[in-house]
């Protein structure tokens, strides 16, 4: 259940950004969660619903984009979203790949409320 620690870090970030911009509240929090980031989206949602009650995120909607594993092959140049969890190029089977998505945990956008 490290999702609770992750969400508490997320909410801290939201609070800091809201304070920086002198916002009164937060209407929406948009995050991008990689399918292989190691967090369970449903638990993130539950944790967010629990933690948002105490602060500026109260009433905020959590918008989650799940990013699939995305690979850029350094050998053949293919950009692919593999069907199974395998870190090799589905086109040419090369293991010389770069991960361009699917392992991230990012805060993307905040919709801030002002007076």
């Amino acid at each position: 259940m490290h999702e609770f620690s992750i969400v508490s870090a997320l909410i801290n970030q939201c609070e800091e950004l809201a304070a920086q911009h002198q916002a009164k509240g937060i209407a929406r929090v948009a995050v991008k969660i990689g399918a292989l980031s190691g967090v369970e989206p449903q638990l993130v949602k539950t944790a967010f619903d629990t933690f948002r009650e105490d602060g500026i995120c109260r009433g905020a909607e959590l918008e989650m984009e799940i990013a699939p594993l995305t690979l850029d092959c350094q050998a053949c140049g293919a950009h692919s979203v593999p069907d199974e969890i395998a870190y090799l190029c589905p086109a040419c089977q090369s293991r010389d790949i770069k991960v361009s998505g699917g392992e991230e945990m990012l805060l993307m956008q905040l919709e801030l409320i002002f007076d």
Partner: protein
């Protein structure tokens, strides 16, 4: 000087560099709703942890210590491996232990003459960079070559946290079954090396080390996989050799950095 802990770090490189772009936060006005504004950011959610982890790494490096994060399920043999490793290497190592409760693991290591600090996480299922930071100051790093961070036994949560080590070591024991690698891909993806432990039990379990190795390589083509049993001296020597090779590479990088600085 680190403002959090007061520890002094060698060099001036300690400026808390981090990858996110504070400067590029963009505030967009929504024309329909004058009282709401959309702020585009792109911040790593675990940014604070990552900054602390980078600080821990610099701290280890300033003391010439290479740090390894040991992760596995509970009972895979992390502590046992550390208890026996001293017999096969002359390198000096200390251990930062993470468990929910008790200091039993640290006590086991201390009984072998190994410097060990126990972190009791209470209900936390993983170590984070802040917890490790608190413990590393209690270790005599100047006399050490290696610091092991023995994470909380758990194949899920520790994978998401950089604790400030240089390499990840993941253990899977024969009784757990080779399927654990595919079931917990995020953890094995993070592994620089995988030790298949308790290999002395292979005759009694349907565990195929070749299948396990293939599963690891599918997740991480660069990972190394070793079959290990603390009862098999040759396998332990191979483990010790792996650590010593890593340490030699680490020392080279460190001296090159100094020369170029």
């Amino acid at each position: 000087m680190c403002k959090d802990c007061g520890c002094s770090l060698a060099g001036e490189g300690h400026s808390h560099h981090h990858a996110h772009d504070h400067g590029h936060d963009q505030l967009m006005t929504n024309p329909q709703l004058n009282d709401k504004k959309t702020l585009s950011v792109i911040h790593k959610i675990l940014d604070k942890n990552d900054i602390e982890a980078a600080h821990n790494r610099e701290h280890f490096e300033a003391h010439g210590v290479m740090a390894f994060n040991l992760m596995s399920s509970p009972g895979s043999g992390k502590t046992t491996l550390l208890e026996h490793l001293a017999e096969y290497t002359s390198k000096q190592y200390c251990v930062i232990e993470g468990d929910l409760e008790t200091s039993r693991d640290a006590d086991r290591l201390k009984a072998k003459g190994i410097s060990a600090i126990q972190i009791q996480t209470g209900s936390a299922c993983h170590l984070d960079a802040f917890m490790v930071h608190g413990a590393l100051h209690q270790q005599p790093l100047d006399t050490m070559d290696i610091c092991f961070v023995e994470n909380v036994g758990n194949l899920v949560c520790p994978a998401s946290y950089d604790v400030g080590t240089h390499k990840n070591v993941v253990l899977v024991s024969v009784p757990e079954g080779e399927d654990k690698i595919e079931k917990y891909p995020v953890m094995f993806r993070k592994a620089d090396v995988v030790f298949i432990t308790k290999c002395d039990l292979l005759p009694y379990f349907d565990f195929n080390p070749d299948v396990a190795k293939a599963a690891v390589l599918k997740l991480n083509p660069n990972a190394q996989v070793f079959n290990v049993s603390v009862k098999d001296a040759d396998s332990m020597k191979a483990v010790a050799d792996w650590f010593e090779t890593e340490l030699a590479g680490f020392a080279n990088t460190a001296s090159n950095t100094e020369e170029s600085a």
